[in-house]
């Protein structure tokens, strides 16, 4: 297949249920170049990439390959014209082998019989070209994530793709895996393919891309050579104004404030290995750590979402029995879970029903919902949280990510818990809602609530917390007072050298992301930590727990 030199994307538009997510986006891709696609969550990057690669049908938009229009919107047409998508949700068949997946639907055949040998020979040539080390007979479902991604890339290559879209391919890879993947991306471009790369890691985008395009609110903001951009300038384009994510200053905790939450030697499998912590009234305690360090598992064990293997949890001196969210709630705990979609909300049900769910027992009369009381309480809560553009009866899925997240907070604040456990308070929300949620957490603490926050964004932990705890491999490895903690110190400890080998994921846990694990840098200059050199020096200056 001849490779196009110029791919014009013209007037792409798409709305979901009347809500526009892409509006008249046009720009040009070039063969032989890597094109970065940037924007905040919800800016329309993934939708655009899917529309271009045929995974969703856009409402408007056309594609010109070297000036010739091609049909848009069907995976088959896209594939025929050399478009391939490597998406966030990997589209592989887990129960099939690597070989079967790479040639999925295009298996070589003789007289109607599958020719496995022909596929295997072609597979060997592909592997030689990319340098991937993959067993073609392995079952895809048993491979680690990074290897599955490689299978997707091999499949794209096997289809002879000349325009390859990659949606956050490095989000869950370790540093070594990321480097290897980016080298392959460069090779693809060098061989003449046009690669479109979505990534939240700005340094990565700047280091590998030739061109960048920024989207905001579904609109095209700018396209230009990457060499003319800095992380700071990209963020300005993404946000639409200079980035000054000011964290509200938490109110100091009085010396006499009682301890509300006390956990001692908490254990849960390999994920949580003897965690002890205190949260006092009015205090925000932040937990930093890598994905797989046991942060979320600690919260879940505290709340009883998972059973615990040992240790004690007390709220205001009262023992909280293990393994029962309802008892933890009665003791005064609440947990805003990591994923609002999977663990938090009933997306098809009304805002009101969602907000009322956790405290149903409190607003009933002989088993009947006290409708008026519920409506008033829910309405007041949503006004407090500034959830706009919604009525109580509308289903939650029609709300924006930020408003959905606020509804999730509302659900857990309806009955005023004593201690609020929050996992990823602002994942997938816009900047304004993020700021409002930060304000909310600080206000709650000022009112005397104890708050325990886990976040992948180190800045968020540092910006919000009175105290910062660092987790690594299921243990709390350090504690900093506000002001003592810096991004470098925290990351160095989170990455310290007793980490499992970089290649391949740790047994029983997802692979650790690499150090640029923040969506938006706090300074224009990248301040990446090299753990191998930085860790020992800094670790000694931190307060190490035995």
């Amino acid at each position: 297949m001849s490779q196009p030199v110029r791919i014009d994307l013209e007037g792409f538009g798409k709305a979901y249920g009347g809500v526009p997510v892409l509006r008249d986006v046009s720009f040009t891709l070039h063969g032989g170049r890597v094109h970065g696609l940037l924007g905040e969550n919800g800016a329309g990057k993934s939708t655009l990439l899917k529309a271009v690669c045929g995974a969703v049908a856009p409402d408007t938009g056309r594609i010109l390959l070297d000036g010739r229009p091609i049909p848009v919107g069907s995976p088959r047409d896209a594939l025929r014209h050399g478009f391939a998508l490597i998406s966030q949700e990997l589209a592989l068949v887990p129960a099939m082998t690597v070989l079967d997946n790479v040639y999925l639907g295009r298996w070589r055949h003789r007289f109607g019989w599958r020719s496995r040998r022909g596929d295997a020979a072609a597979f060997d040539r592909l592997v030689e070209r990319t340098g991937f080390d993959i067993d073609p007979s392995a079952l895809v479902g048993e491979l680690p994530l990074a290897a599955r991604q490689q299978v997707e890339i091999l499949r794209a290559l096997a289809s002879g793709a000349s325009v390859i879209g990659m949606d956050e391919p490095t989000a869950l890879l370790t540093k070594t895996e990321t480097d290897r993947l980016l080298a392959v991306v460069r090779d693809l471009a060098a061989a003449g393919a046009a690669v479109v790369l979505i990534s939240h890691f700005l340094e990565e985008v700047l280091s590998i891309c030739d061109d960048v395009t920024v989207l905001r609110d579904g609109r095209h903001v700018m396209t230009g050579p990457a060499s003319e951009q800095t992380p700071g300038s990209l963020v300005r384009h993404m946000v639409g104004r200079p980035l000054d994510l000011l964290y509200p200053e938490p109110v100091p905790v009085p010396a006499t404030a009682p301890v509300l939450l006390r956990a001692r030697d908490l254990r849960r499998g390999d994920a949580v290995r003897g965690v002890s912590l205190d949260v006092r009234a009015g205090e925000i305690v932040g937990v930093a750590g890598l994905v797989g360090s046991g942060r979320s598992e600690t919260l879940r064990a505290l709340f009883g979402a998972d059973p615990r293997d040992g240790g004690t949890v007390e709220v205001e001196g009262e023992e909280v029995p293990p393994g029962s969210p309802s008892r933890a709630m009665r003791a005064g705990l609440a947990m805003v879970p990591e994923s609002r979609k999977d663990q938090g909300l009933l997306l098809g049900r009304s805002v009101r029903e969602n907000v009322a769910l956790a405290g149903l027992g409190g607003r009933q009369l002989a088993g009947f919902v006290r409708s008026r009381a519920e409506g008033e309480a829910a309405g007041a809560m949503l006004r407090d949280l500034d959830v706009r553009g919604s009525d109580l009866g509308g289903p939650v899925w029609t709300l924006s990510g930020g408003n959905q997240q606020k509804v999730l907070f509302g659900k857990w604040l309806m009955d005023r818990p004593r201690v609020l456990l929050v996992d990823e308070p602002t994942r997938g929300v816009d900047v304004a809602a993020k700021s409002q949620i930060h304000r909310l957490l600080v206000d709650l603490a000022a009112d005397g609530m104890g708050v325990l926050v886990v976040s992948s964004e180190v800045e968020e932990v540092l910006g919000l917390s009175h105290r910062v705890l660092v987790m690594r491999h299921g243990r709390m490895v350090a504690e900093f007072a506000r002001g003592e903690a810096t991004r470098e110190r925290v990351l160095a400890l989170a990455f310290a050298d007793d980490a499992p080998p970089d290649d391949g994921p740790a047994p029983g846990g997802p692979p650790a992301p690499h150090p640029q694990d923040t969506t938006i840098p706090d300074t224009p200059t990248p301040d990446t930590v090299t753990p191998d050199t930085a860790a020992p020096g800094i670790a000694t200056s931190a307060e190490e727990r035995p």
Binding site: L346, V431, A432
Partner: protein
């Protein structure tokens, strides 16, 4: 407590703090209006059939026919109530007609020994018990409810065969009339007692799902089990209760059917569980759970019953009835699907 944006010096709290343009907000409002409209797509299909039958036959809109229609709907209707509640909770119950048969047989046997009231009570108790067993097995063994209730339904049918030794069982002559009381017309314009029972059960289920905290929990468990659990809901108890309710509805349907025929046998209502599930789903209750309503099940029942009734009134050859019934169900669901397509 106020929560205002603190993102920039010039940003007023009420002007710019949410970067949601008027267009976006307007779009969402339009989406919601659309949601409400398309919710009633299936009702339009049924209304179309009603109008067509009213215009083409002189007999459709007579009291006699409507009473008859309601009576025909009673058994499937009771089973559809069961199916709707279970499907909303995110499960399937394929054992409802097997439970129906066992309950009906128990009703006859107990009636024979202890009288009609005891028979009725025993039937309902057996329905609740078998339903609860379904629920306990689904919750503890964690087999998918589709498979678990399929296997259990075979066991229950077997139990029915054992109870009857494979024969048809009848209540004794002197109690037969009382046993058949459910099939009698009542003073309410000749509407049968079975029809009233069906309407009463539907009303109870409706209120249960839409007005009680239990109903809220059922939707939560079906819509997002993990979210429900983390909200302090005892998912296992809700599931067992839902299956028990399903069993009670099935037992009541068994009483209606046994009263109508004056007998019970192991093969009663075989296959009707699929009709009931079809009725629930045709009405727009999501097979994925967490969404739906009793009224939707009732609309589905109406659709299915109307088809049989229409064939009768129009004098069409009933050998075509199944083909038309299947086609109309498919058509109604497709229409509903088209109306909902924009949502994803």
């Amino acid at each position: 407590m106020t929560t205002t944006a603190d993102t920039g010096p010039e940003t007023g709290p009420d002007t710019e703090s949410v970067p949601q343009t008027a267009g976006q907000a307007g779009g969402r409002a339009a989406a919601r209006r659309f949601t409400r409209l398309h919710d009633f797509g299936i009702v339009l299909s049924v209304a179309a059939i009603v109008v067509a039958l009213s215009l083409t036959t002189g007999t459709f809109l007579t009291t006699g026919n409507l009473v008859n229609l309601l009576d025909q709907a009673a058994v499937v209707g009771l089973l559809a109530c069961a199916a709707t509640v279970v499907i909303i909770s995110g499960a399937f119950d394929l054992s409802i007609t097997a439970v129906l048969a066992v309950s009906a047989i128990v009703a006859v046997v107990v009636t024979t020994h202890a009288g009609v009231p005891a028979g009725v009570v025993a039937a309902v108790a057996v329905g609740a018990l078998l339903g609860a067993v379904n629920g306990l097995i689904v919750v503890t063994v964690k087999v998918h409810s589709f498979i678990a209730t399929l296997a259990l339904s075979i066991m229950y049918r077997g139990l029915a065969v054992i109870l009857t030794a494979g024969a048809i069982v009848y209540p004794p002559e002197d109690r037969l009339q009382a046993f058949q009381a459910l099939s009698w017309p009542t003073v309410l314009g000749g509407v049968t007692a079975s029809s009233l029972l069906f309407l009463a059960v539907a009303a109870v289920c409706w209120v249960l799902l839409s007005r009680t905290t239990f109903g809220r929990r059922v939707y939560a468990v079906g819509g997002n089990e993990e979210a429900a659990r983390l909200s302090g809901i005892r998912v296992g108890s809700v599931r067992v209760a839902v299956f028990a309710i399903s069993g009670v509805c099935a037992a009541l349907a068994g009483l209606v059917l046994a009263a109508r025929g004056g007998s019970a046998q192991a093969s009663m209502a075989t296959g009707m569980e699929l009709t009931a599930i079809a009725a629930a789903v045709v009405g727009g209750t999501s097979v994925l759970g967490g969404e739906g309503a009793i009224w939707r099940g009732l609309v589905g029942v109406l659709l299915i019953t109307l088809i049989g009734n229409g064939f009768n009134l129009l004098g069409w050859d009933t050998i075509y009835q199944q083909v038309v019934q299947g086609a109309l169900i498919l058509g109604a669901v497709s229409f509903d699907r088209v109306l909902r397509a924009r949502r994803s």
